[in-house]
Amino acid sequence: MLRVENLSKEFPVEFDVFGRPVKFLRAVQDVSFTVEENTVFSIVGESGSGKSTIARILCGIHKPTTGSIQFMGTPLKGSGHREIQMVFQDPDSSLDPRKTVLFSIEEGLRIHRIGNKEERRRLVIETLKAVGLTEDVLSKYPHQLSGGQKQRVAIARCLVLKPKLLILDEPTSALDVSVQAQILNLLMELKREFSLTYILITHDLKIVYHLSDYTMVMYLGQIMEMGQTERIIQEPMHPYTKALVAAIPAVGTDNLKDFSLKGEIPSPLNPPKGCPFKTRCDFAFEKCNERPPLTDFRGRKVRCHLYTEV
């Protein structure tokens, strides 16, 4: 359904006296992946990994520096595709505080010139029901709603346009624990009902494991490991994925006491040469000064010299 090839994005960060860029931040480097219809594809990573940049490129907020994106067989150009919609992390900043729920949800329909006033209203009400809200929120403003309700409105805003692909950028991190579960359940129901495809961007591996079919682990703009979610979490291969899985705090046991990863995430402005993870890796050896290729290894892709030898 979605095929991304050799995607790279560089942001200019320093300019010379003539305003020409002299230094670049390589936010995303050589990323290729495909997303199948009706699946959930997760992008996992910490800050600076480039996961949000990919999301923004996919919905046209940023232009890629190089690389191509094919959506349903045709190249993706420009922005504002009705069939690709994005749900943001914090509904407080993605919903206009001065507009009613009706206005916010209807906005997309107006922009895409769908239906007349009554039809649009009917569509909005239908969508509200699908996300578990009732008609009486139509004339309310965001501040009158709870966090969970606001995120439901944000989802309805996307859903009303009948998209095929939803990009979920940390959809539950701003919510309370008890409400988070409601929203995750809702997302799974909506996926079945409207046969949606999701790209889920998060740092929370518990949610990734729960929802997604495929997972791509990123570190400083590069893919570290990619494959089926279950296998990646149950038997991670890349030392970074191993550390990520080991860092998941379990409920009811103190499993982090043996966590041993040292050091900090290097600045993406000045990433290590060769393998980006080598500065924190327990297994780093001489060869890690060269950039490892993304190799196929037992049905998944890993970027690590440990797996190129074999």
Binding site: E46, S47, S146, G147, G148, Q149, D176, V177, S178, V179, Q180, A181, Q182, L184, N185, M188, H203, D204, L205, K206, I207, Y209, H210, L211, E230, I233, A243, L244, A246, A247, I248, P249, A250, V251, G252, T253, D254, N255, L256, K257, F259, L261, E264, I265
Partner: protein, 319 residues
């Protein structure tokens, strides 16, 4: 044994344009020496306000309306002659908001000792370097000369913890200290807290919305909801056999690595507004086990061995 910290029937009143409300509203708990107590709750549960009240740092529109706070046998409710910075210190969620961006880290840390303990500059510097090294800040001497923006997120939080530990406090309050951090850094900081706990006699009050983070370190956990305490229990029992329906719901709503793709058990409804809290038990509108009495009367504390639960299910059973 007398507790180090005793909070008795504490209620904090907030005055806003929309009216008065109380959060927390009558909470009672204690923290013993060398113990780590976890305080868990969602937004609006009153966990942070409780911490601020103990620290004597309530915002201007709030005041302690009822109850008292005893620290080391002394009543500190009024906030006069408060032991913060000497016997008690706090680590906040976002270190960028709690560090002065215009001052070198070293200056900010040394100041604590110079002001509170009247130490000389050299002495203070020596102690700061010692503490920073102990907390895993590499090349502490060099790092002293840097500004907060030159530190990474994890290092900043380490510096904050160092600042809090400089006075060798009897009580350390940590309010969501890992929420703003990346996962691998969170794991490192949690390990650090764990080391602190085993290497010093400092008691820790660890506040978080995340049950899994709290279960890494706490000996006992207090679960709060809408300004009231639901349950207080040693960690192990809390997760093996949660008593209060809210605790049960909270634990069940965390996705785990065993059941994949199944529907998560969620708690229906939303956190209530504190301006107009539900009558009776505050959790009853969302509770799946509610009785008739829950809507009218607030349950009393029921003591069950070393656990406390506030729920009519147990009161009725007469345990």
């Amino acid at each position: 044994m007398n507790p180090l910290l005793l909070v008795e029937d504490l209620a904090v009143e907030f005055k806003t344009r929309l009216g008065k409300f109380y959060v927390p509203d009558g909470v009672t708990f204690s923290v013993f020496e060398g113990e780590c107590v976890g305080l868990v709750g969602e937004s609006g549960s009153g966990k942070s306000v409780t911490a601020l009240a103990i620290m004597g740092l309530l915002p201007k529109n709030a005041r302690v309306a009822r109850g008292r706070i005893l620290f080391d046998g002394v009543d500190i409710t009024s906030g006069n002659d408060h032991p913060r910075g000497k016997k008690m210190s706090m680590v906040f969620q976002n270190p960028l908001n709690s560090l002065n961006p215009n001052m070198k880290i070293g200056q900010q840390l040394c100041e604590v000792l110079e002001e509170n303990f009247k130490m000389s500059k050299e002495e203070a510097r020596k102690r700061v370097i010692e503490t920073m090294t102990k907390l895993g800040i590499p090349e502490a001497e060099k790092m002293l000369e840097r500004y907060p923006f030159e530190y990474s997120g994890g290092m900043r939080q380490r510096a904050m913890i160092a600042m809090a530990m400089l006075c060798e406090p009897k009580l350390l309050i940590a309010d969501e200290p890992t929420t703003a951090l990346d996962v691998t850094i969170q794991a490192q900081i949690m390990r650090l807290f764990k080391q602190l706990k085993s290497s010093s006699r400092t008691s820790i009050l660890f506040i978080s919305h995340d049950l899994s983070v709290v279960s890494q370190i706490a000996d006992r956990i207090i679960v709060m909801y809408a300004g009231k305490i639901c349950e207080i229990s040693p960690v192990k029992q809390l997760f093996e056999d949660p008593l209060h329906p809210y605790t049960q719901g909270l634990i069940a709503s965390v996705p785990d690595l065993k059941k994949k793709g199944s529907k998560l058990r969620s708690i229906e409804g939303n956190v209530p507004s504190l301006l107009d809290p539900p009558t009776g038990c505050r959790f009853h509108p969302r509770c799946n086990k509610k009785l008739e009495i829950c809507t009218q009367h607030e349950p009393d504390e029921v003591q069950m061995k070393d656990r406390i639960v506030k729920c009519w299910l147990y009161e009725k059973a007469g345990i």
